[in-house]
Symmetry: C2
Subunit: 582 residues, 2 copies
Amino acid sequence: MILDRVNMPKDIKTLSIAELKVLATEMRELIIKKVNTIGGHMAPNLGIVEATIALHYVFDSPKDKIIFDVSHQCYPHKILTGRKEGFLNPENYLKYTGYTAPEESEHDIFKVGHTSTSISLATGVAKARDLKDEKGNVIALIGDGSLSGGEAYEGLNNAAVLDSNMIILVNDNDMSIAINQGGLYSNLKELRETKGTSSNNFFKTLGFDYIYVENGNDVEKLIETFEKVKDIDHPIVIHMQTLKGCGLLQAEQNKEKFHWVCPGILDEQSAVPCSVETYDSITTDFILEKAKVDKSVLAITPATPGATGFTQEFRSALGKQFTDVGIAEEHAIAYASAMAKCGAKPILAILSSFVQRTYDQLSQDLCLNNSPMTMLLYWGAISGADCTHLGCFDIPLISNIPNMVYLAPTCKEEYLAMLEYAMTQTQHPLAIRVPFGPVVSSGKKDDTDYSQLNKFKVEESGEKVAILGLGNFFKLAKEVKTELKAKLDIDATLINPKFITGLDEELLENLKENHSVIITLEDGVLDGGFGEKVARFYGNSDMKVLNYGATKDFTDRVPLDVLYERYRLKKELVAADVDKLL
Amino acid sequence: MILDRVNMPKDIKTLSIAELKVLATEMRELIIKKVNTIGGHMAPNLGIVEATIALHYVFDSPKDKIIFDVSHQCYPHKILTGRKEGFLNPENYLKYTGYTAPEESEHDIFKVGHTSTSISLATGVAKARDLKDEKGNVIALIGDGSLSGGEAYEGLNNAAVLDSNMIILVNDNDMSIAINQGGLYSNLKELRETKGTSSNNFFKTLGFDYIYVENGNDVEKLIETFEKVKDIDHPIVIHMQTLKGCGLLQAEQNKEKFHWVCPGILDEQSAVPCSVETYDSITTDFILEKAKVDKSVLAITPATPGATGFTQEFRSALGKQFTDVGIAEEHAIAYASAMAKCGAKPILAILSSFVQRTYDQLSQDLCLNNSPMTMLLYWGAISGADCTHLGCFDIPLISNIPNMVYLAPTCKEEYLAMLEYAMTQTQHPLAIRVPFGPVVSSGKKDDTDYSQLNKFKVEESGEKVAILGLGNFFKLAKEVKTELKAKLDIDATLINPKFITGLDEELLENLKENHSVIITLEDGVLDGGFGEKVARFYGNSDMKVLNYGATKDFTDRVPLDVLYERYRLKKELVAADVDKLL
């Protein structure tokens, strides 16, 4: 294997073009095997193999700095920068993260996992270089999909006026995670079709020098191009066309499905229709039904339809009642808020980690205007995810904004009742934290009147201790109740708060009569969250309050059971705390 | 006066062009007089008088919907939509807000005060119209300065593919609040210079139809143009060149100074250099001194240099060590974070209300990467500001992000010591909440070692009650201490927390020995803030905790003393609460 001789970037600089091509094949095989084994980003990495080889062949990392957008396409880069063992031996498959990680290698400049950041980061790297009178190339590698994000544009606008070296390598594979959306993509298409010669050129209007590379999977062509721009004294965009999933036929033919894959994707038998009910399927069924009878119902995704169960079939069935705004979360909120203000019924599905892009839009475009839009928050939970994709910060982010009503259902029936309420109410912005995990059923229809805001539900009355189990953690609350009975003979009161954004002050006041301890359980970070508000409420009283949730921390792929232990999110640990207190 | 005959948009539709021109002059005079009397946005409103008249002449508001970006240019619109009394009679000057306000008029669609939102909002309005099979034009009015914001671009990208009526009126006066920044502005200049004929056209690359209007202060020309596009069946950009400050010579000649003005701007004598020390001047003096000895020091503003005391002289003195990134707050954080990561010393000055644009960048680009950048947070305080520009939400926004260190100085000496620490430390992102109000001096140098994180300072030891007075409210804490002594004969402990992002757990633990009540005072919203963390800490103990701060609410121009009364932020009210508790 050529790869036997390659450990670091310098090792490829003496290889022939023919050897580099073999190397590309070897790397591709490793990536396919590893991703098929443990899951991960398949198609983005297959498309960028040649460009990564050419970058390390021409430029001198880490003196020259390569900044990856999203960085889910950094696997080839990791192979070439001292980390091939993470791909060669299945025992080491989990040794390195799926994103750039400075603690792993000096060739990784930033921890990155959200899109559209590379150009701004690169502009800062270049400006620091200039102020410190240093040398070196700064290269931002960004996909066409990421270019729709506002931060990418703000970066482009500023990078363009940087009066020194800056290379923006646009990896145009004509795909975001799903199909690209928006006016920009007609221009990229025109540029591809004219081999970059059209006078109608988005990048040039912003002031960039520009080069087009027709085949971004041709390592020889890429090397030639990169050598031309190396040490250039001004900002330039290299627009290269690549094939997403290149080298794996199934991925080339089904780019969305192969963007990120679960283990065993290549071993799958012919698709068997999935009959298991999930919160995704409950949601899409609900939307389809509503959309049929009300033509103003619109489902919106910011470029992550797959992650929220918005399948191809679902999108097709909705037709004009579905909008993918592309990677444009800020726009998504303002757009949906305006629709709701005008009497339509937008339903925005967004992941907890990506809603972080929208604080000001939630505040100004949405809540200040009190528009009755519906936002469904997915993947909001403490998890073993990468540090770049944690879903534990949305409660502090969303729930401290005035006017917002943020609901936490604990079962299918509540979720459906809340969805129903969302479609009929016209009073305020409504967000629902979609339950995480397998569907739970209470077995009975929920006929709560959710227009009575901040009414918590007492599921079982007891005394001494009251347990507030929010959303996903209602299950844990029930376990704690059982444990308290078994170990301490306490008949605890069990409460399902349902509302994250406000307290049921009357109920909390009444609990003072025959309770001395309140336990709050929330599936997210404690700082700025739900439990602290309960603690504040009882601050002037004798009530003891124990808040359970996550510590303020960027955890990185820490197994969930380790986190639960660390945060004492276990029935026996909570019971022990209560025992100590009483 | 022509205006005597004009109350609502329909009244201008029968006027002749000559009469419309007189009307413009009359409106301009009213605006100048009012703004010179009570302060407000001068130049933006003077520039848009003719366009506003032409819009209401041609289109039929509110069936046709005009959506204002920032909406600080809506004064002429208010005059023409039933609210001229707010401009005619000084007694009514405060009757209407300086921004669009749906509660005032059906001609105002949204509450808006932040930039770059209009296109996204308009796209939502248009989509709702289409889904509901309604008719009418949707017009977004946006300034050239706002076009650098990411949300504007995300909106453009999506508006371009809307297959129906959408008119984006770009009000190009070649100015943001300060000078425009970024590659886009070369293109706008090229378009102005070629009267829109250049083939290099930013808007066309995104797929828009496009018309250029050379003189956007020529009401006749504008009417002609608007009539051409009325009821158009696809998205179009009208790029009109206007003169910011038009009709007021001083404003035309000094656009930045006249963007927003204090009362009496026109009555000012020749400028007397201001010799009063402010936190702004302390900051700029500090930066200038540091920048001289360290060439990697860079001051950054996202288009609001004036609001943070970054004067023309300051900017000139810094030269390449100053960057105005334009309205691009997201970029600003990523850019500064990257610089800090590369060993430079960026100092970003940003207003509390606008930092809201950057939650995800603070989280991902900055804190996850633990870059030692310095962020100075201005105007962070409970205030009588418009609901669109409140500065009371930054503590929950910033302080719940892992790795961030957010400091709250209480006087000049502490502020300087914290700035000094910011420039030397390399451990974590550092934000300082610049004190609000006149400079306070402790009279003695602060030699605290701020690398010892989360060490609160006990200013005076006492017993029974401990008062934690955070930042701006340390002054109130001292007053409360005096009041407690006078009224209840309590020698309270007085604590200056200094750190917003973490608790001094050792100190708080020790307070349990001889204190039974803790008071927290913070100049911001309570929800998700500092005091709640203290309440959580003491949740399992007998300590009583009273949290003081603002209620979660969008207050709108409510006088500060009313708010302080409402929130019980007065020494005698706090003392009364303590009395009740003991």
